[in-house]
Symmetry: none
Subunit: 223 residues, 2 copies
DNA sequence: AAAGGTCTAGGACTAAAGGCGTATGGTGGG
DNA sequence: CCCACCATACGCCTTTAGTCCTAGACCTTT
């Protein structure tokens, strides 16, 4: 792990807030705290925590409102959010979970339970990031078509080498004249090839042919 | 909504399993069931459910083992997993949550609670998928652009509504005449809009504009 | 050697695309 | 009320795209 995970604690009771912060800091987490929901939201936006611990009952803005607000912001749509609840509030837990909280802990919080819950959610979030990286790795730079080679057009669309070259440039918006200059042939030749291309692809103009080419180049660029 | 969400129910008690299945099917979900943990795992791998409901106490393989196994597989690292627990098992919930479960429901399950919990987790999963797509630039149905709506062109390219409509059709290879018929206006109008589109996109012909449109529709499709 | 595919390219033509100017209504905001 | 923006539309003009036909040069396969 490169850097310490950052945990935001939103809790109005000072004693409990400090105890939690101390406990988590001793475990190697970076801790930021907020004493109510409104400040908690601001702090979250500023600090970008990896996990949020949040009390339910708070003045100004309760825990439900906090999680609801966060879940509406793309940056926090996936940030693990754990509730801290007193025993009597257990029936209200459902509300929080349905707003998109990830877990809850019953106060008084046992050290091992707290750490286990946090670790579990961090592991979950990392699995999420892993998935993102995998997908991103398969398609670097997005899922954009790769115009670096005409080969995919030749193999996947059954075009001849020259036809594939022509289509490669046409699909990038070049005019027939441009393509003829690029390929060093007559514009008539480009037109001739384009005619063959249209027939092979079953289309009737360069725009449709380009669409086919772009999709082919996007799909068969890297896997 | 494109297709119904698929829910896997892993529950050894036949009556409860059927009741849950019936309830969820009436709500429009596609339901598959399994009568124990081992079969549940196999079913999950085969059916790729969007949500998994799983009993804790089961012969052969209990719910903890199921969630632990699933969380180890990349394909299921992020699939919402909800426990169904009897009242007396509440202390064991922590174990399940720490294995990566997303929520739990206490039996007997109240209909509204069940639906709310499922919807909440589906919403969460979709938010995550959204993030995956944004970061990875990936697309669920492959890498194909979605021509079902001009909205992305309007919002992401700064086009007016009508311009977006025109481009949507042009990008699909339609001629100006075709577009004018489709949109019920003069071909001159189509040309006029296309001129504005070229200027806004910084391109000089319809093929290049289509390229931009296709990439935009591939990136920002679905919502 | 003959056949077939590819790449090249010409002529003659039609169709479509695109630029430029102008103009009319509608609509929303200062 | 006027202005800015939008959608609509026409005319005139130039450029580009695309079709059909023909045909030579160069390959490989038969």
């Amino acid at each position: 792990m490169s850097t310490a995970k950052k945990i935001l604690i939103i809790e109005d009771q000072g004693t409990m807030r400090r105890n939690l912060a101390l406990l988590l800091e001793m475990e190697g987490f970076q801790v930021v705290t907020a004493e109510n929901g409104r400040i908690g939201l601001e702090t979250a936006r500023r600090e970008r925590p990896d996990v949020i611990l949040c009390d339910v009952m708070m003045p100004e803005m309760d825990g439900y409102a906090v999680v609801q607000a966060l879940r509406g912001e793309p940056d926090f749509a996936t940030t693990p959010f754990l509730f801290l609840t007193a025993k009597g509030e257990k029936s209200d837990i459902r509300v929080g979970m349905n707003f998109g909280a990830d877990d809850y802990l019953t106060k008084p919080v046992v050290r091992d339970d707290l750490l286990a819950a946090i670790e579990a959610r961090l592991a979950r979030a990392e699995a999420q990031d892993e998935r993102v990286r995998e997908l991103a790795g398969n398609h670097p730079g997005g899922h954009l078509p790769d115009f670096s080679s005409p080969a995919p057009l030749q193999t996947h669309l059954g075009l001849t080498g020259r036809e594939a070259e022509v289509l490669l440039w046409v699909a990038q918006g070049k005019s027939n004249g441009d393509v003829s200059s690029i390929l060093g042939c007559s514009e008539k030749t480009v037109k001739q090839h384009l005619g063959s291309i249209f027939e092979k692809l079953g289309v009737e103009n360069r725009t449709s042919a380009s669409l086919v080419a772009v999709e082919t180049l996007a799909k068969h660029s890297r896997g």
